[in-house]
Symmetry: C2
């Protein structure tokens, strides 16, 4: 039995439109905070994994593995990992594997995205790189358009209402008020969501996660090493990754992300837990419909009942299962490459019990659900105290 | 002691300006050939790793991990890895680590780049994503310009001559004649190199590797599984990855790639060999000066003597050490994300002894040297029979 891999430090920048900070600044800040949290300095780090989706298109900069490693002042092995909006969680997996493979003891996993240096049109076009360029992007589809198709079908098949669709956004903006890094820490109402500017029917502006700048980092260590740095290691109990057709029209269904279902099965199996054991989850709410599908795909609620459950408060802090205590992508922001790592940091802080006002009391098992594009990549990671 | 990881199949497309093929077609072709070579079909594959530098900028398409996995008709875990021009070798490392970590038995590692769908100017700008965009690209530097600076300094410090500088290109074009996938299978002469169109003094067109389309794939398996598919597994004995400052002006020296020196030390140590044991090597000759520095950095020749050694024929097939039997990046082509995997495929075929006319007789230990940008990432992998 291989040694387990623990998270021993987390670091986050503010998420938002950070006009005075470039991707270097963001990466340095998140990495330094994670090292401080882990009571270490950069000399303790053996290797880095960097999650980033599209610095090539957003900043003309590929090769972020070296750019960011160089900021530590060391010449350590560093690797960029990409799977669209799931890049962060893929980086967590690869960092974990490198430790399990016996190659490293301590690994810094960081994710960053700087999206506000390009126009909204350029950002939207850049994000379409996560969909099928030849079969979707070229023909004018955008991500709100893709998720609007899923929302319409979910409403048609299961009777999900417009009010239910708004519920994840309202909850997540509320949670964001308790999260100091959140981009949108303010209350919204059902009326405001429904009457906001239409983006792609039925999704309005308040159904959509924003374009954000930000970075997140966590420090992984093998169990024997972890205990030297912290008394409260949080272990990665399981990880699952699955893929699906890139283009929506090639999928089995529009109302579930099969890749997420498969990834969660693998992660539950590896961690030796079931959906019922999960107390706190960060799920990929790039659009409100995405959170509704997520809580179904992960097995928290039956297919078709995610909207009702959310509206009934079952996913609020202290509900049946606390979902997106950070504010999610919707309330906290969605700097793409950072998102999966921010999710992991949130769950780690919840399981350590040091997250402040949004603490889920007694949380021992948590999960992150990170999706690439409209569901062609899904990564589910499970964390345990 | 963990089980070793073997390469049990290789597949390559033609390299060149392939107007009728997109990145999907190229990836499918290389993957299918590798599976055929390994006597298996896609159902045998547990996971994929994809090396690609910049499909986002060359084709508007990120998220290649899912795009390419979907072509297999399976929903297996798939991860894209990027480190500029070293992306392919990074993918080999991550595939290897995932097996050593006990996560997979058989992994397809593929690399592809489709560069000819954009203009040469766009390709050159895209490639600058591998350098420092803020400190180099923004100010007008190009890759030929960066390597020209290194060439000038090497000539100044060590007396490397213009004729010696041309020698790697002449050898590599010659070797390319024996490689059916090569983009430039024809002889060139010192006179032709020196008198070709100037790109960045002292580098002419014939000192520079081309813009190419192409894909390469190899299949990795843990040792116990490998024997079920082949009697001639080739093992990855060692791997080294190191990084350096992205911008040339921040480096210790212009005449060596310190990242490559460090990566090779780590790889030699892991494999339990020294530079003297290497019989055949594929090195990253994106420009002629790069091969001269590579054979020095890897310890095959003393610093400053790489040009003379190459001109004296010591790196030709059957020389002291056979370098770039494939034709290298210069003669065989350089579809960026595919290059590191093509290098691995070449060494594997050399060690299996089934590579045809360009066979290095009795080759038992080989090496790949794959560089990102102007040297900020370097990966050295060592292969053994």
């Amino acid at each position: 039995m291989a040694e387990r891999v623990a998270v021993i430090g987390v670091g986050l920048t503010k998420f938002g439109e950070l006009w005075t900070k470039g991707i270097r600044d963001l990466a340095i800040e998140a990495g330094a905070k994670a090292m401080e949290d882990a009571n270490m300095n950069s000399k303790d780090i053996d290797a880095m994994y960097v999650g980033n989706m599209s610095a090539g298109r957003f900043a003309g900069q590929e090769h972020l593995n070296a750019l960011i490693a160089d900021q530590t002042g060391l010449n350590i092995p560093s690797t960029r990992v990409e799977g669209a909006c799931a890049s962060g969680s893929l980086a967590v997996r690869e960092g974990m594997f490198s430790i399990l493979a016996g190659q490293h003891d301590i690994v810094l996993v960081g994710g960053a995205e700087k999206m506000s240096d390009v126009s909204t049109a350029q950002a939207t076009t850049g994000l379409m790189g996560a969909a099928d360029e030849e079969w979707e992007g070229f023909h004018g589809l955008t991500f709100p358009g893709l998720y609007a198709l899923m929302a319409k079908k979910h409403m048609h098949d299961f009777g999900t209402t417009r009010e239910q669709l708004a519920a994840p956004a309202i909850k997540n903006h509320h949670n964001a008020i308790m999260n100091p890094i959140a981009q949108f820490p303010f209350e919204i109402t059902t009326e405001k969501v429904i009457n906001a500017t239409m983006v792609a029917d039925p999704l309005t502006l308040l159904d959509c996660s924003p374009i954000s700048d930000g970075a997140a980092a966590i420090i992984l260590a093998r169990e024997s090493v972890a205990r030297k740095y912290t008394d409260t290691p949080v272990f990665i109990g399981g990880t699952g990754l699955s893929t699906d057709a890139l283009a929506l029209h090639d999928r089995r269904t529009l109302t579930a992300l099969d890749a997420a279902v498969r990834a969660s099965k693998r992660a539950y199996e590896m961690a030796g837990v079931t959906a019922k054991d999960i107390q706190v989850a960060e799920v990929h709410d790039c659009f409100t419909i995405a959170e509704i599908m997520a809580v179904e795909d992960l097995g928290f609620f039956k297919k078709g009942e995610g909207g009702k459950a959310t509206m009934d408060g079952e996913t609020q802090i202290g509900g049946k299962i606390s979902v997106n205590t950070s504010g999610g992508l919707k309330g906290a922001g969605h700097p793409v490459g950072a998102t999966g790592i921010k999710q992991a940091a949130e769950i780690v802080m919840q399981l350590r019990g040091d997250i402040g006002k949004r603490q889920v009391s007694g949380a021992e098992i948590g999960l992150t659900h990170n999706v690439g594009g409209s569901g062609a990549t899904a990564v589910v990671n499970i964390f345990k105290r």
